[in-house]
Amino acid sequence: MLATISRTARALAHDVAGVHDDWREFILGIGVEALFAGALALMALATVQLVLWVAA
């Protein structure tokens, strides 16, 4: 079992280390995910403004 854990941990470490090969795409991916959060925040802010304007 320890051999299995060791082999998988090495494979996972290799996967993580291999990230630098595709780092531009990964950073772009994380950036787009942050952009998605920003878009949601803007939609929410517009909604709050609209509701307050109507309620007033």
Binding site: L12, G29, F36, A37, A44, Q49, L50, A55
Partner: protein, 500 residues
């Protein structure tokens, strides 16, 4: 006729459950090392005892029930259920030895809350808990978010045939690559990359806010784990309200939302298809329901007149609604503020957000945006069928990684799980009311537990009745397993008792 599971079937279930128990023991190495590093000798001893107990019984179980029989899908679902029960009991041992909780039931409550990424807790004096014990809380929530069986699939079950039942039993049916173990590895890869990026961002923010270097790193990693696993545990009793920082809130918001995304959507965005984020049925449904519920919440807060400034209201409301909708459970207001100041309309909006939840195949809980999207499309298709000519064939399509036609079976499946969720929300609310809590308070905390969110308006406390604590434990478990594995276990027990 009900077929009784054979002795080999029982051995298979016991063998794989014992493997997961061994894995839980190995997970205790991290808090043990933390305790030793910070010279917390009593805590180190607690973890030493817990680790030895889990390893001894886990390895003894693997030896006693060793079998080479093939694992089938029906075994997988039962193994997942028994593994979660066993993991909860063994992971609770260090909590029980620590003396920070009132009873073993409270310990099981906190462990189940951590593993299911709920975030409710009964632990007392949280602000003075040793580093080792806090590390254990966050390891539980991070491992539970990815799935303890996914963890075992990655590290312990390599080369075992029939592992799809194990994977699907934990509420993740999506395959990112054809091979299940490969999928589990990608899930861990995404989580580890986010762990590195998110922890650096959080630690830097905390350092900037004036925390010491050690606390910045530890709290940075822990809060990342709490946010990305949509768990909601925090190292302070005031949760994220403790920091009073806009920058901190912005970073946690991004991490909460990232944690609530489907791992398949992450993988698409990271492998050259970033537009998937804006086309996917889940992200679109989530955006629509979040915006609508924020509108309702804003109306409630405006009526209550709590926040005279729009931006202050937006900051509080957006954070709480995202926290509720992603089923994270971080909060930037006091628990009782919900009841005393926010009022019923805003509370109902948050209950709605928690009940719906976020993406499937993510760390989030609740009904899930995919099912909400499919049910909505099913309604629209039914209306179109009513107005279309008799001979017309009305179809519905949706986009999830690729364009797909919606089948009746898919809509039926989504409806079945949704009905199961709504029934459980209602039952647990009823139990709360029967225990003497006001309806809205009981509904808020009941839905929060079952949807694995973790926001509380004050019902969850060490003094709550034991029957309600037990119901919340079952609710958290049912919600995380999405019912199927638990039903499989009930069926298995029934077949063992009454089958032939």
């Amino acid at each position: 006729m009900i077929v009784r599971p054979s002795a080999t079937d029982q051995k298979l279930v016991a063998y794989f459950t014992a493997k997961v128990v061994t894995g839980v023991g190995m997970m205790m190495l991290a808090p043990l090392a933390t305790s030793l590093l910070f010279a917390e000798w009593d805590t180190a001893l607690d973890f030493g005892i817990g680790l030895l107990l889990a390893l001894m019984l886990g390895l003894a179980g693997q030896t006693a029930f060793y079998t080479t029989a093939a694992l089938r899908k029906r075994h997988g679902f039962v193994v997942v259920s028994t593994s979660w029960i066993a993991a909860t009991i063994f992971a609770a041992v260090p909590f029980a030895l620590s003396g920070y909780l009132g009873s073993f039931l409270d310990c099981c409550f906190d462990v189940m809350s951590g593993l299911t990424t709920t975030g409710l807790y009964l632990l007392q004096d949280l602000d003075h808990v040793p580093y080792g014990l806090n590390m254990w809380r966050f390891i539980l929530t991070f491992a539970g978010g990815q799935g303890i069986v996914v963890l075992a699939l990655t590290f312990l079950f390599r080369g075992v045939p029939g592992t799809f039942g194990l994977y699907a039993g934990e509420g993740k049916e999506e395959r990112l690559v054809p091979h299940v173990v490969g999928t589990a590895r990608i899930i861990w890869l995404i989580s580890i990359v986010w762990l590195v990026v998110g922890s650096i961002a959080m630690s830097a923010a905390l350092l900037f806010l004036g925390e010491g270097p050690v606390r910045s790193v530890l709290h940075g990693v822990w809060i990342f784990m709490g946010a990305f696993s949509t768990g909601g545990f925090a190292p302070q009793s005031y949760n994220t309200f403790w920091f009073h920082s806009l920058g901190f809130e912005a970073i946690t918001l991004v991490i909460m939302l990232a944690g609530s995304l489907n791992f398949a959507v992450h993988w698409a965005a990271w492998t050259g298809k970033p537009r998937e984020l804006f086309k996917n049925i889940e992200t679109r449904t989530f955006a629509v329901t979040l915006t609508a519920l924020i509108g309702v919440g804003a109306y409630g807060l405006a009526r209550a007149g709590v926040y005279p400034q729009t931006l202050v209201m937006f900051r509080k409301l957006f954070y709480m609604m995202v926290s509720g909708h992603t089923t994270t459970g971080f909060g930037t207001i006091y628990n009782r503020t919900l009841v005393v100041q926010w009022g019923p309309v805003a509370m109902l909006a948050i209950i709605g957000a928690m009940a719906l939840g976020a993406s499937s195949c993510s760390t989030a809980g609740g009904i899930k945006a995919f099912r909400v999207g499919i049910i909505t499309k099913s309604f629209v298709r039914s209306i179109r069928e009513m107005v279309a000519p008799d001979a017309a064939v009305v179809t519905a399509r949706y986009h999830h990684i690729k364009n797909e036609f919606m089948s009746d079976a898919l809509a039926r499946g989504a409806m079945t799980i949704t009905v199961a969720f709504v029934t459980t929300y209602a039952a647990i609310t009823l139990l709360g009311v029967m225990s003497g809590y006001p309806l809205l308070d009981a509904a808020f905390d009941g839905v929060s537990a079952t949807s694995n969110t973790g926001l509380s308006c004050g019902v969850v406390a060490p003094g709550m009745p034991w029957a309600l604590k037990s119901a919340f434990i079952v609710g958290m478990w049912l919600g995380r397993m999405e019912f199927l594995s638990v039903f499989a276990l009930v069926g298995w027990i029934w077949a063992t008792a009454r089958g032939r």
